[in-house]
Symmetry: C2
Subunit: 876 residues, 2 copies
């Protein structure tokens, strides 16, 4: 992929020869590169040419116009296409018609503009009539071209043309477009042109002018609102630009010997190795995608056009082998001749991605490393998404196509805006649409799942939903949707915005009410792929867990230890909270110790259980972190109850609550600051941890406790607390007559800790980056309060992403790098990990790997994702 | 000061010769070095020797004992003293007695132990009787020695001896010590010895044993609790250790030809060039200091002992000239012979320090640079605030944080309104609040001083009080304030509106009743010294000010511009707050703009006035910073009033208050985040600033507005807001037909801003470090909430000082250095300053100077301090 040798801006392909190759995605875009490659492979592709992506930027730089030299190159390439096909652009006998399509480096389906039948004018239409043998077809194509061009290039509204068309049908007493006579179509063309003229534009009759304007429009559509939105969601750089593919038109709608279809070389839903797709006879590609007619399964084509089907099979195998990946093909049959219009790596479900990757390794097509990189973190996430509990009793209301697997539950949203609004209020919704269009992207992203009345497995809704890993049921004919009433009738019953439905994208079922969901089961292929990931990666994966249940799940998912065992809940639980409150209300050390002594055995049992589950894996226990006021009751009734339980007056409880009130609790008396003020709390915890560990040790088990002190900002805090903890540990060793290996380390979650890491590393056995708090402090943003401005920041592009989701490498990352470098200078073998939410986010994992971390720790359900990503980054 | 040539541990002085010199303070301690130097100068000093400071460390290293070699050296030096005086240690005829005193590098008055009359035993006491001609004197000295030695060296309680003494006087029917007979004294000696024996010790009769034990005790007192505490407070390193001075005893209490005194070479109170001091005839030094007898002014000595007086005058002049500083002398006259026991640089009041420094420059004794370094920042501070008459007897009720220096007296006001009411009646009040908020501004301004129960050194109360130059004691936890009862309970006693209190903001003390105050005046010498400071320093000094009054004061104090003009108060003032609330409650851009339009002319007038006062000096205006909820009313009555004023329902106001509520307001929707959400606010402010500036420009005045955007964490915020502000500025230029030079810069107060300073510097004209917030975020400590643990941190030595008072160089300073370095890499001429509270703190100013800042900005009353310190650091 080099542009060093680039001397031209337009690349021809056709007749088994091509200026470009499949490697030139950056320059030619994905579609253009693949058209070139297919042509070189001898696959029948209508000839054409690709205008490079860098011309897109030049277009914007030149005040939205094409340069003279580019127009000259385009003309030369038109000539080459004319020669290849023996047709002539704009000719009245043998006219060459073009499609003009966008094609960026990565696929942005439906996001940008397309113009078809370009080259038609009052002369060429005659030639098309001769070519196709149908004057009706020619004039219908002409009037469609005017409509499309006027809409895409000139910006006129579709419906103005539709009105004229409707009037024309009415005047002619017909109900279908196809029933209009040639004369009526000719009148339509004239009326369409008049409409264009009325709008202040001249409809260009010069084919070259049509083409340059269309190319400009495609470049222009790169900056259309929906394209920008799509790029934001998919993190595609604005500066990439799109290429423009100008390709000779072929027609699938020339009668029963013509047709069009979309096919996948393997099943994109489950990954089965079987040719999979749909086709329509006498139709154009748009008809399949738009879901206006319901297409037939590809297998039926074998019976109707056996030769064509065989040719298609040969081609798909060649293409899959060539690209070493499952392909998504578009083809058109024009009068018994097969043309491939596009091939690309097919979008697929998570399950399919895994199965295909594993199968292809076994078939010798790809390596294990390649397989690892064929599956995305999002797909693993999707796989771990919930399904309907098979044991649950459900009422199936209707069935549509199982367009994107997984289940989703929500109230109903009938417009994209409503779905986005609901999302902002944290309300789960299903987006219910007749069919979706690119304008719905935002709403689809916001919804839990998507339900459409029309369209097939490759409809817009289906493709986009699978890409998003969202559940989708498509083409469910029994839905009767009223967007205006915001209601849907399913089998006679009406459901509105207030009703709940469940969809099962794996089966296509629509279920009444809220069905109980559960996690999907992991396949053998999944386990196999994960085992390869484990072979490749060097980064260890731990989990953030503190309940027996979470620990068990995380272990099942492959966690290699606990990176963050929060101990807060060990203070909160019912029987304990009273003792905790007793401690808080006590005015004396003695009183506090007495209360803590009640809690110690309970915590000891907690630790014993966790250590038992984790066996010989390391368990990092964070000592008490939240401020004490979190343990006190808040409302009047609870205060009264607490006072009663504690046998003190309500006033005393209220006074304590008042005295512990903080203006900024995030920056208050918490973490190790509590340990400094009340060392007895941490001492009790150290006692409980080590008692449990030593008990297990005496039972012959291996235990690896790692005691973590939170919120250190200054090494003296750590030194003081470490000393106190060590004294407790030594005492436990003496009393139990056994020892265990243990570490005492700290969270690095305060900027000052990162800045003074060298000093801290001399005292601490490990660093665990608490990137949640570190992000809050580095940005000066409270997560609890950011809701009112942070989304706006991401939307306006002030921040590339939400720093609480994806680690901010520039600011927070710089602090982390400083801490790692300084820490390892002081202690080369310092163990370093992360226990913030970022530990399960792919880009953040990559950062941690590059920064030299020993492990990342994340929530149990993200452990497989972390394993995969850790392997992917190790492949680079 | 080198130890390279050090070959011995004990340095002799006496008979005009000395092993050491005055330059060897590190080795000999201050006292020892000065004794050596005085001896070399020919000043009559009782001979003796100094045991070096490094022996102190060895003493601890050797398990608290003196090494053999050291004892050997001591013996040799005893011999030299014996020869010099022709006396013999422990002799029964001509005994040599020693004083044993500590002496560290810097003076630690009264902190360590002293033993006098050492060398007395049952034999030597006879010799002393012969020498002194008084058996009574000899035995009284002996019994005193036993008591002192037993207390200091053996650790016996003073009062046990005092009991025996009291019994003895009773038995002898006398009331004064001096009335005891020789026999009675002899009995006392025996009884004292018996007491020592009973305690399990042997009272050592061997003089050498007495000496080695005493030397050990002095070394040991280096680690006495009070000495450690003193070092903590005064930041003296533990490893310095103390020297021990062993010096021949001379006696001022040998009758009317003997005496003792303390003198200063200039008046330590006002700096007048006149010999100043006190003496007592027939007394020991302790008697002068202890105040048991009232001493006579030194001038009277001229009449009584004219020769001695002349000798003393000659000596004091010699010493002052030699040390080029005002000296504090101790002398003893033993039987008509004058001995100097000590000279050191004398402590002095602020006024004296300034006068002496300026006078000495004029006398040609010191340079201007030296003069600058003779005055401390604390002295300047002291000079600028009223203080409690040091002679007054006061009762301290409690102690809080010394939040804003100076003293204030008043009756108590428990609300801002009450304080304002009192002011209107010319009644001086102290505003007593749980903590203050921006709504209390009026009351704070009206009050003489401010006293709060919560909040630290940079709490609202503290910052505002310092800005106003008003005394403030903050965070006094022993206050229990009831706003409803209008009373405060301090240590169990209740004070109401009718009671008077005095606060000392320099010490944090709360004093009962009305303490007498005295006002320091700014002298010509002060102005002269400051003008020298201005010649020397390179760092510019600006002020944090926003009212005409503050601006005028700051200018008078020498401010060279405004580094922080907060604009909050321009929104708070009575007539404006309604428009501000109207803006906040408005749901539309249009509504907000309408409300802002009402505020604009008022702010424009504010800026016009400020620019007019500051003339051609730069004025940095910070755009709105606090979260919007601060502008809404808090209590029910105000909410109802506000609703009525705004003509909306109470519910609407309450809803808005609720929707703006934040968990951690410090980390919330404020600063430039408001500017991003509501650009119209900053646009209005930019409009007001530039309208005012252009008006002045048209009037032929020079204006230098610097617009400062707060809370930037990411360069995109800055870019976006700068663009919007520039558009406004361009428009004002166009409309007014004039232009002014202006800058747009940012506060660096968020760690991420410091970490991404290179990017920000490319866009910003200046950086101003907001070290208050930067410290909060770097430490993760809310200054509003730190009161409950931060004092403990400093007390326990976890932090060396309160980072909100003194800039934390290790953590926050590292961030600042990163930002300065990266910022100047991007823009070498980037203007850099500080506008946090640290801008007026000496160590922090030194840091800023070294970090390469262009200016510091501080509250008006700290401007002279900053000028001085900036000159001092430039001298280094």
């Amino acid at each position: 992929m080099t542009t060093l040798t680039k001397t031209k801006s337009v690349y021809f392909f056709g007749n088994n020869t091509s200026d470009g190759t499949g490697k030139m995605r950056t320059l030619l875009g994905g579609k253009g590169a693949n058209l070139a490659e297919m042509t070189l492979l001898g696959v029948p592709v209508p000839p054409g040419f690709t205008i490079c992506t860098d011309e897109c930027e030049k277009y914007y730089a030149c005040d939205k116009s094409l340069s003279e030299s580019l127009i000259e190159e385009i003309k030369q390439n038109i000539h080459r296409v004319e020669e290849a096909l023996n047709l002539k652009f704009g000719d009245s006998k043998n006219p060459l018609l073009f499609s003009v399509r966008s094609g960026s480096r990565v696929s942005m389906p439906g996001m940008m503009d397309t113009v078809l039948n370009l080259g038609l004018n009052d002369e060429a239409v005659k030639g098309l009539a001769i070519q196709s043998g149908s004057e009706r077809f020619a004039w219908d194509s002409y009037r469609r071209f005017i409509q499309m061009f006027s809409n895409v290039v000139l910006g006129l509204e579709h419906h103005s043309f539709e009105h004229i068309l409707a009037d024309k049908k009415k005047a002619n007493g017909v109900s279908e477009d196809t029933d209009l006579s040639v004369d009526a179509l000719k009148e339509l063309v004239a009326e369409y042109k008049a409409l264009v003229e009325k709008s202040g534009n001249d409809f260009p009759l010069d084919p070259m002018e049509q083409l340059t304007m269309s190319v400009g429009a495609v470049f222009g559509s790169w900056d259309a609102a929906r394209a920008i939105k799509y790029r934001q969601i998919n993190k595609i750089p604005d500066e990439w630009g799109t290429a423009v593919n100008v390709q000779a038109m072929v027609f699938g709608n020339l009668g029963d010997t013509s047709g069009t279809g979309v096919a996948f070389t393997r099943n994109p839903s489950n990954g089965d190795k079987a040719f999979y797709g749909e086709y329509l006879i006498n139709a154009q590609g748009e008809d399949v995608v738009a879901g206006i007619r319901t297409p037939n399964p590809i297998a039926q084509l074998e019976k109707i056009m056996p030769d064509i089907y065989q040719e298609l099979v040969t081609i798909y195998k060649k293409l899959e082998n060539h690209f070493s990946d499952m392909q998504d093909l578009e083809f058109t049959i024009q009068d018994k001749k097969l043309y491939l219009l596009q091939t690309r790596n097919g979008k697929r479900t998570a399950a399919a991605a895994i199965k295909i990757a594993v199968d292809m390794v076994k078939e010798g097509m790809i390596t294990k490393k390649e397989a690892i990189n064929r599956v995305t973190a999002e797909q693993i996430d999707q796989l771990l998404h919930p399904m309907i509990d098979p044991k649950a009793k459900t009422t199936v209301l209707a069935k549509g196509l199982p367009a994107s697997p997984g289940a989703a539950v929500g109230q109903l949203a009938f417009t994209a805006e409503d779905a986005e609004q609901a999302k902002s209020e944290d309300k789960p919704v299903l987006l219910v649409r007749e069919e979706t269009s690119p304008e719905d992207i935002g709403g689809m992203n916001a919804a839990e799942g998507i339900l459409t009345a029309r369209g097939g497995m490759t409809s817009h809704a289906a493709v986009v939903a699978r890409g998003m890993g969202k559940s989708c049921v498509a083409g469910c004919g029994s839905l009767h949707i009223s967007e205006t009433d915001k209601s849907v009738v399913i089998n006679g019953k009406t459901y509105t915005e207030n009703d709940w439905l469940t969809i099962n994208g794996t089966t296509g079922e629509i279920i009444e009410g809220k069905a109980p969901l559960m996690q999907a089961e992991l396949t053998d292929e999944f386990e196999e792929l994960m085992s390869w990931a484990d072979e490749i990666r060097t980064l260890k994966i731990r989990t953030n867990a503190e309940t027996a249940e979470d620990c068990t799940v995380a272990k099942k998912f492959g966690a290699e230890g606990i990176g963050l065992c929060r101990t807060e809940h060990m203070f909160f639980e019912k029987e304990r909270i009273q003792a905790v409150r007793e401690m808080i209300l006590s005015g004396s050390l003695e009183g506090r110790k007495k209360a803590l002594a009640k809690i110690e055995p309970m915590q000891e049992k907690d630790f014993y259980d966790i250590f038992t589950i984790l066996e010989d894996m390391p368990v990092t226990v964070r000592l008490l972190d939240p401020p004490l006021h979190e343990f006190l009751p808040h409302d009047k009734a609870s205060i009264e109850q607490a006072a009663k339980d504690l046998n003190v007056s309500t006033k005393i409880v209220e006074q304590k609550i008042n005295s512990l009130k903080e203006t900024n609790p995030m920056l208050g008396h918490r973490g190790c600051r509590l340990g400094v003020s009340y060392p007895e709390i941490y001492e009790m915890q150290a006692q409980a941890i080590m008692n449990a560990a030593c008990r297990l040790s005496k039972e012959g088990k291996s235990v690896k406790p790692e005691i973590m002190i939170p919120l250190i900002g200054e090494v003296q805090e750590f030194k003081m607390l470490r000393q106190k903890i060590e004294a407790i540990v030594e005492n436990v060793f003496k009393e139990t007559g056994t020892t265990v290996d243990y570490l005492i380390g700290t969270m690095i979650e305060i900027p000052r800790a990162a800045l003074t890491a060298e000093e801290i590393a001399k005292e601490a056995d490990f660093f665990s980056f608490g990137t949640n708090d570190l992000t809050q402090l580095t940005f000066g943003i409270s997560r609890d309060d950011a809701g009112v401005f942070l989304p706006e920041y991401v939307e306006k592009g002030i921040l590339a992403s939400d720093p609480f989701q994806e680690l901010d490498q520039k600011g927070v990352g710089r602090l982390i790098n400083i801490a790692v470098e300084d820490g390892r200078r002081a202690k080369p073998n310092l163990k370093i990990g992360i226990c913030g939410e970022h530990g399960g986010e792919p880009n953040s994992i990559e950062f941690c790997y590059k920064a030299g971390f020993d492990y990342v720790s994340c929530s149990p359900y993200r452990v497989p994702i972390a394993r995969l990503v850790a392997a992917q980054v190790a492949c680079d």
